[in-house]
Symmetry: C2
Subunit: 199 residues, 2 copies
DNA sequence: GTCTATATAAAGATAGAC
DNA sequence: GTCTATCTTTATATAGAC
């Protein structure tokens, strides 16, 4: 377990590697890419990557930590821009739509979560934190909406937080797997679910 | 693209390999297991596997075809045992619970779907068929329920078929990734969703 | 149907020069 | 920070004996 840099201290070269690695994971998973794949895309040689990230686990840990941090920033942004719970939930669904929309990329943590048994323990731990954070945030928002009378009071906030998160993560998996057979992206499915939650 | 045996013609030895391969994929994904892993579990040597399945793509194609076939059988069984749409949907959710419940295994096609860009084309095609079949079946059941007045008529059957399928697939991914942080399995989440669909 | 032996290539990683 | 060269291990696969 080598000590790795914090994502805030990355040089431009290292940041580029993290960018490319993230995209490759979102497409093919942890075991679906290699340092060689990154090297090809970035235009350097394989061993140069080890200078920045000694091991693959180091690299992916930083990728995941940065992803998590950016997601937290996005949640804060939503809180700053939307006052009411239903709108906050819709904006949340939009985050998943943006990830998926561009190139049918999966949520990084969705992908790594599916592979949980086949990734380094450090990575699996970051991924677990990602989901705990998201579930807590969604639960809080739903409870807030119930207090403010914008969401139905009869539903269990925790259950419906999970329902929304799972539907969004699942929409990306099923969407890319089913190809053109599916026409609803995460946003549309999320909106349908959120609609049924409204007071 | 070598011609491979049909899953109905497997010898007991070959069937055992398919069993083990399926479990390994459900835990670690296509790129998360090797012939060596299978050999270790089954108790034979690696090259013996090639006698039954020349390539990894051959093996996984058969695994997926058999999985798909069994799933179709399960859908037929539900149709034979449950007359009403809400009960059919609950029985459907139960299928996912059984897969996930035992050892936190993912749906085979959920896993392979997530990895779609990193698996052989033959496999990706089987997976696509799996999701098309499931979406069509769920849509039909929901429409039937709407005609029979057991499910709400205002909802879009196609959208809610996707919603249920995505929530169930997502529940497995999120559940294993979040660890003990999640307490609702696929069945509980599915039941909550189906409840909101009832007329 | 399974084995040993072997081939080939890829993946992850290190050493040391520039 | 990047390179060439090299090492080690693993993955996938083949050949041929039992």
């Amino acid at each position: 377990m080598s000590e790795s840099k914090h994502f805030s201290e990355l040089t431009p070269a290292a940041e580029r590697l993290v960018d490319v690695a993230q995209g490759l994971i979102q497409r093919g998973g942890y075991n679906g890419f290699s340092y060689e794949d990154i090297a090809r895309v970035v235009g350097i040689k394989k061993p140069s990557i080890h200078h920045h990230f000694p091991t693959k686990a180091d690299l992916v840990t930083v990728v995941t930590q940065r992803y998590m941090h950016r997601f937290r920033e996005a949640l804060l942004r939503i809180e700053g821009q939307q006052a009411r719970a239903p709108e906050r939930l819709l904006a949340y669904a939009e985050l998943f739509e943006q990830t998926y929309g561009a190139q049918r990329q999966l949520c990084l943590c969705g992908m790594l979560g599916a592979e949980a048994d086949a990734v380094p323990a450090e990575v699996a731990q970051e991924v677990q934190q990602f989901f705990k954070t998201n579930l807590q945030w969604l639960t809080d928002v739903i409870e807030q909406g119930q207090r403010q009378n914008s969401l139905r009071k009869e539903v269990d906030a925790r259950v419906h937080a999970q329902l929304l998160l799972c539907a969004l993560e699942g929409a990306m998996v099923v969407g890319r797997a089913a190809g053109s057979a599916i026409h609803q992206g995460p946003q549309a499915l999320g909106a349908a679910l959120i609609h049924s939650l409204r007071a």
